[in-house]
Amino acid sequence: MYLFDQWEITNYKNNLIYEHIDTACTYIFIALIYYFLFKNKYIKASILASIILIAIFSIINAFIIQKYTSLFPTYTMMLTEVLCIILAVLLFNKMLLYPTEVDIIKQSTFWFNTAIIVYNSSLFLASALANYFPGRVPINLFILKYFWYGTIFLFYIFLLIAILTDRKEIRDVYVAPADPE
């Protein structure tokens, strides 16, 4: 994906196609992680349905609404960000329902979920502002770019903590117990 991104930038001076594909793929990847973190069959089915929905919407958006030749897929981004926030809140709720004896700071699930909720809610704001500002308000969008970079940096820090704290036996506590079906 990175090589495709670089090729597109070199040849077309932007990375629109890459962004359209990447937005859908990122959501599918995150949704699949949540799919394996939840045991409840309704939530699992909803996650699968959302993956299909996002895939279809991405195609429609890329060809009809925000064409891949001229616009970034901010609508798809906002939709996937909202869905990711919903999944993160659901997992937080599940964690509250079945708390373990392990300190929450040592749980990778908590850090992963925090990363997702911080990243997606910040990017939702950035996407919304990026949609709103151009043509309406006379503002240089460089500040949005740094906000975006800051959020991504924070996201990677949380993900790093999640990887460092990842222990199968702790993770299994959330995955294994019987969820009310």
Partner: protein, 280 residues
């Protein structure tokens, strides 16, 4: 100029908006962490309570089963073995008239031994049965037990009663008596003691049962090696009736077991009429 002012205002608004968002997110995460930790604490407390209650229930059942078994043995001794021995005694009495002088002496000796055995078995039967506790109360039952031990010559036991006696409740007194029996049994089996002192101390809001001997004693290490389930039993039984047990001992310095309880304090093991079997 106007254009630049508008742009600065918008940048200010954007920074504020971002600040609010991050503050909200940080607040949400902090709130979640606090909520999660509170839930963890609550669950831990509930689990500890459940475990304690489970342990108490198991102990309660153990005591009930043990009491029923002892009661059954007591009934069997009283109704069966002593009756047979009484019949043997009577039969021996019948033989006396037809025997010569030498045999008469022997038969009379055997009759006396049988009579002694019947008396001992009756005493043992009473000490095993909780009927005695129900009818006589703790102090009197311990007094009888002391008399029995003194009569046997195994130990020299003294009993002191301090304060005005009051009933502690049938179940509590039964458990206290079983603790006393366990202590007595330990002394007879392991301590090699010559003297034992029992003190029953009654106060308005405090009751103490102290059992002290001058036996071999033991150290904490010796108990750990032998698992010390008997002593653990004493502590568990004491906690079951809302009391506490303190066992103080050191090698060659005897042992002192003290059960303390507040009679006003509600207890888990209440008088619920669990003992319906009785021995006559």
């Amino acid at each position: 100029m106007w254009h630049l002012q508008i742009q600065n205002e918008n940048i200010g608004q954007l920074v504020s908006l971002t600040g609010i968002l991050f503050a909200l997110l940080a607040g949400f995460i902090a709130y979640f962490v606090i909520l999660y930790r509170n839930k963890q604490q609550k669950n831990l407390r509930e689990r500890e309570q459940l475990e304690a209650s489970f342990r108490q229930e198991v102990l309660k059942t153990q005591i009930e089963v043990q009491d029923q078994t002892l009661n059954y043995i007591s009934t069997e001794i009283h109704d069966n073995i002593t009756q047979v021995l009484s019949f043997v005694k009577l039969s021996l009495a019948g033989l006396v008239s037809s025997a010569d002088a030498e045999k008469k002496t022997k038969i009379t000796e055997v009759r006396e031994l049988v009579a002694q055995t019947i008396t001992d078995l009756r005493d043992l039967s009473k000490s095993l049965s909780f009927e005695q506790i129900s009818s006589l109360g703790l102090a009197k039952t311990i007094e009888r037990e002391v008399e029995r031990i003194n009569k046997s010559g195994l130990l020299e036991v003294s009993l002191d009663r301090e304060g005005k006696e009051y009933p502690l409740g049938q179940q509590r007194e039964l458990v206290l008596f079983r603790i006393f029996q366990e202590t007595l049994n330990n002394t007879l089996k392991h301590a090699g003691a010559k003297h034992m002192k029992i003190v029953l101390h009654y106060q308005a809001d405090l009751f103490n049962l102290t059992v002290e001997d001058d036996g071999a004693g033991f150290s904490a290490g010796m108990i750990a090696q032998k698992h010390g389930s008997g002593l653990k039993n004493i502590e568990n039984r004491a906690s079951l009736i809302g009391g506490s047990a303190s066992i103080v001992s050191s090698p060659h310095k005897g042992c002192c077991t003290k059960i303390t309880l507040n009679p006003q304090k509600p207890q888990l093991y209440t008088d619920g009429g669990t003992h319906q079997n009785s021995s006559s």
